[in-house]
């Protein structure tokens, strides 16, 4: 009976092969019909029951169903088949009824095969390429750090041709020469930087700003900008000293009333002729430490050990001469502005990064004279202890004067830290000079001022560091940019957001790649299943409005769920860490995120497959499924294969929709953040430090104090 019914059902549904799901559904319905008809025919034949009795087929749901009367069916199967009608005519009627759906599906299938996969791959490719292009400029921050991210990024940077330096290729040589040789944040190629700075001087031989930048580069390379206390021998070799002095002398000729060159000359001479040593016994400072806000603040005192008295005397004399000059100017503000004006006028993250690096990499030599001030202050104390009070007081006066010049010369937060943050060391040395020369009252007042200035510095510094809500979280840009200028805090925050969109896009790319991978797996599995059946298989695409709505819902729900997971579970998503550090941890989190999304999707898809099978196949599970697998138009393997392929196409569609929308949204977010950064002054040259109330107030307070102390020391020296 079963084989006959199967054959009839197959013939009746033969024209529905393009819609396997529909065909199985109709086939199943016809089979139940045939079985019911056969059961009734058999019952009618076996018993001659009254028409109104419940039928003998076992149905209890419609007990009043009248039996067929007078059916002469001796063969129930033949009777059921005959009553159904001509199967080919039925096949035509069914085709006519369902032709629109079948044709629609045929075209949808073709469109899906033609477009879904290419679209999915294209979305992923666009996502990766745009991510690489946005990330490429940021990579300048990691090269030189030898981080894994740098190793990973640079090939992408090279492949996308998005290197920061490529943007400068079109500049004329006389403009290009003014820009940094490298856009790495921490360039280690000093020789290249020196050549670049020298080339700029050769192009603009009488340009004071260009020369100051070159001289600053030479000074920086020689190591004079770093303090070197507690060393045994002078650290500057004489041949290096000679070359450096030649550079500084030429600067002094070019810019005769600028204290920049004599101050650096004094520093070079001092570094070549002396060393600072910590005063271990603490004989100079009666005050070793103090309490501040529950913490112990130690005061270190230094003495200067002179190795070459003549050279050191030249250093002191040059220092006195420098302080007598009318101004100290390293032109860093003006030179940075010139450099920024040359950069391409583009409104993207890469352009902003280049601006940040340009600002960061422009030398600010006036701010790095701290070691000279410390050497001279320690030497003044040595003189005072040795009983040479007048010399000590005069030198201390000039130390205060030189420090005042530096405080005035700086215009951004980073240098301000150097000029404002180390005054406590020289201040306590100056107070010790007063103490040792018989001015304990003046010494006490200076100590009080010095401690107050230092406390105010820490308060301002801490406020500065916490100005963005304490979220200094390892972002590559934020950390640096916020450090530069107080007024650019909004720009720093906006750039941090732009930077985070890179992390978000990377996460989205992981999710889209995971979905496509899962779809490929399902498709491959379906392909293997199809080999077993050897027949055509149709896709179950957009079968019914309800399922279509479900597909759209999944397209929205899946990315949202993935985003929530990303925000809750990852450091970048929760904005706990940017790209600046913990990159291995971030990469691991991305892998885990991708795996979680794929696993959840696979579980949902598995349920979908199971539901499809349950709906299509009869619930008399084992026997009938085996039967369906062995016989019939589709068969069990075919059903699974078709369902999997349908799932694969849906996953690709989800990936396309989610990836496309997500990529657009994140790109928009990055653009918006960059625009916001531009509105916040766009890293256009460092605004004056006065714009930050706290730092400005501290600067004013410090400057007034230093000038007053300079006069006090000078007056006391004059009295001797």
């Amino acid at each position: 009976m079963s084989d006959a019914f199967e054959a009839i059902a197959d013939r009746a549904t033969a024209r529905l092969t393009d819609d396997v799901e529909l065909r199985l559904e109709v086939r199943r319905e016809l089979l139940t019909h045939l079985h019911a008809a056969a059961d009734h025919a058999a019952a009618a034949h076996a018993t001659s029951r009254p028409a109104t009795e419940p039928n003998a087929a076992g149905d209890a749901d419609h007990p009043t169903l009248p039996d067929e009367q007078g059916t002469p069916a001796t063969d129930p199967t033949a009777a059921a088949v005959a009553a159904l009608g001509e199967p080919d005519a039925l096949a035509d009627a069914l085709w006519h009824t369902h032709r629109r759906r079948i044709l629609r599906r045929r075209w949808a299938r073709r469109a899906a095969v033609a477009f879904a996969w290419p679209a999915g791959v294209a979305v992923l490719a666009v996502l990766l390429v745009t991510l690489a292009r946005s990330a490429a400029p940021v990579a300048v921050f990691v090269q030189g750090h030898q981080r894994a991210a740098g190793l990973l990024w640079w090939p992408i940077v090279e492949a996308t041709g998005a290197r920061p330096m490529d943007r400068l290729a079109a500049l004329p040589a006389n403009e290009r020469v003014l820009l940094p040789e490298s856009y790495e944040l921490y360039s280690s190629d000093n020789e290249a930087e020196r050549r670049s700075a020298k080339a700029a001087v050769d192009t603009y031989p009488n340009d004071r700003a260009v020369y100051a930048a070159y001289a600053g580069r030479e000074v920086g390379i020689s190591g004079l900008m770093h303090s070197l206390p507690d060393i045994e021998r002078p650290s500057l070799e004489l041949n290096v000293l000679a070359a450096l002095l030649a550079v500084l002398d030429r600067g002094a000729v070019l810019d005769p009333d600028n204290a920049l060159y004599p101050l650096w000359t004094a520093q070079a001479l001092a570094r070549a002729s002396s060393v600072q040593r910590r005063d271990q016994p603490g004989t100079y400072f009666p005050w070793r430490e103090r309490q501040w806000r529950g913490k112990t603040v130690s005061h270190a005192s230094f003495t200067v050990r002179v190795h070459d008295p003549l050279l050191f005397a030249r250093a002191v004399e040059t220092f006195h001469r420098a302080v007598a000059m009318p101004r100290l100017d390293d032109y860093s503000t003006a030179f940075t502005a010139r450099r920024l004006a040359l950069l391409p006028d583009e409104h993207d993250l890469g352009a902003q990064v280049m601006r940040a690096v340009t600002q960061w990499n422009t030398m600010k030599p006036a701010a790095h004279l701290t070691d000279l001030h410390m050497t001279m202050a320690a030497h003044a104390l040595d003189l005072a202890v040795a009983g040479r009070a007048a010399e000590a007081l005069r030198l201390a006066a000039d130390v205060r004067g030189a420090e005042a010049m530096s405080v005035r010369a700086v215009d951004s937060v980073g240098p301000a830290v150097f000029t404002l943050g180390f005054l406590n060391i020289t201040g306590h040395h100056a107070a010790a000079v007063l103490n040792a020369t018989g001015h304990p009252g003046e010494a006490g007042r200076l100590r009080t001022w010095t401690d107050a200035q230092n406390d105010a510095f820490f308060v301002a510094f801490k406020h500065r560091m916490n100005a963005d809500g304490g979220r200094r979280d390892g972002g590559l840009l934020q950390d640096r940019v916020a450090w530069m200028t107080p007024r650019l805090q909004p720009a720093a925050g906006a750039l941090a957001r732009a930077e985070y969109t890179l992390a978000d896009r990377a996460a989205l790319a992981v999710v889209v790649a995971g979905l496509l991978g899962l779809a490929a797996m399902a498709s491959a599995t379906a392909g293997v299943g199809a080999v077993g059946t050897g027949g055509r298989s149709a896709l179950l695409l957009l079968p019914r409005p309800r399922e279509t709505a479900g597909l759209l819902l999944v397209s929205l729900a899946l990315p949202i769920a993935a985003y929530v997971l990303y925000v809750l579970a990852t450091q970048a998503g929760s904005r706990e860490a940017g790209l600046g550090d913990r990159q291995f941890a971030l990469a691991t989190e991305y892998v885990v995120l991708g795996a979680a999304v794929v696993t959840i999707t696979a579980l949902v898809a598995r349920r979908h497959v199971a539901r499809q099978l349950n709906a299509i196949l009869p619930r008399r599970a084992n026997a009938e499924r085996a039967d369906a697998a062995r016989t019939g138009a589709a068969g069990g393997i075919r059903v699974v294969g078709t369902t999997l392929r349908s799932m694969a196409v849906r996953l690709v569609i989800v990936a396309v929709v989610a990836g496309g929308v997500g990529a657009l949204a994140l790109r928009w977010a990055e653009t918006r953040a960059v625009r916001e950064a531009e509105r916040a002054d766009g890293l256009v040259v460092s605004p004056l430090i006065e714009s930050d109330a706290r730092v400005a107030a501290l600067q004013t307070f410090t400057l007034a104090g230093l000038r007053e102390q300079q006069q006090t020391f000078a007056a006391l020296a004059a009295e001797r």
Binding site: A12, V26, R28, E29, L30, T32, H33, A36, A37, H40, A51, P54, G58, D59, A60, D61, H62, L65, P66, D67, E68, Q69, A83, L84, G85, E86, P87, A89, L90, A93, L94, H96, T97, H98, R100, R101, A615, P618, R619, R620
Partner: protein, 117 residues
């Protein structure tokens, strides 16, 4: 005496809707009820019912669901049947078709009566 095929064909939709207005039914049940209630006048070829049902379902006038069949022994779940249920749109369509059919039948009846005289 079975009715002519074209008359039967024209009446299938209102009859199906009318049956489903009573209660949800499966296809074979409808066939048997119609045959029984019309004493064979509307003799449906059973297979022709299904394209009609599917067309009505595609049009939103009826909807279908697979239900477990209760056997005489009371077991549930061994077998399933596809039941059709009239939707709200189907109910409205039935009302409209019934009115049309009555008007048509009255008109044709009147004409036939005149001719008979």
């Amino acid at each position: 005496m079975p009715a002519p095929k074209d008359l039967v064909r024209g009446s299938v939709v209102p009859v199906v809707l009318s049956l489903l207005a009573e209660q949800p039914m499966y296809g074979y049940e409808m066939v048997r009820l119609v045959n029984a209630r019309t004493n064979g006048v509307l003799e449906w070829k059973e297979g022709t019912l299904y394209p009609t049902l599917h067309g009505l379902e595609a049009g939103g006038l009826i909807k279908s669901e697979w239900r477990d069949v209760k056997t005489a022994s009371g077991d549930v779940g061994e077998r399933q049947r596809k039941y059709y249920v009239l939707t709200r749109a189907g109910r409205a369509e039935l009302k409209k078709r019934s009115a049309e059919w009555r008007a048509f039948a009255d008109a044709v009846g009147g004409l036939l009566k005149t001719h008979a005289l």
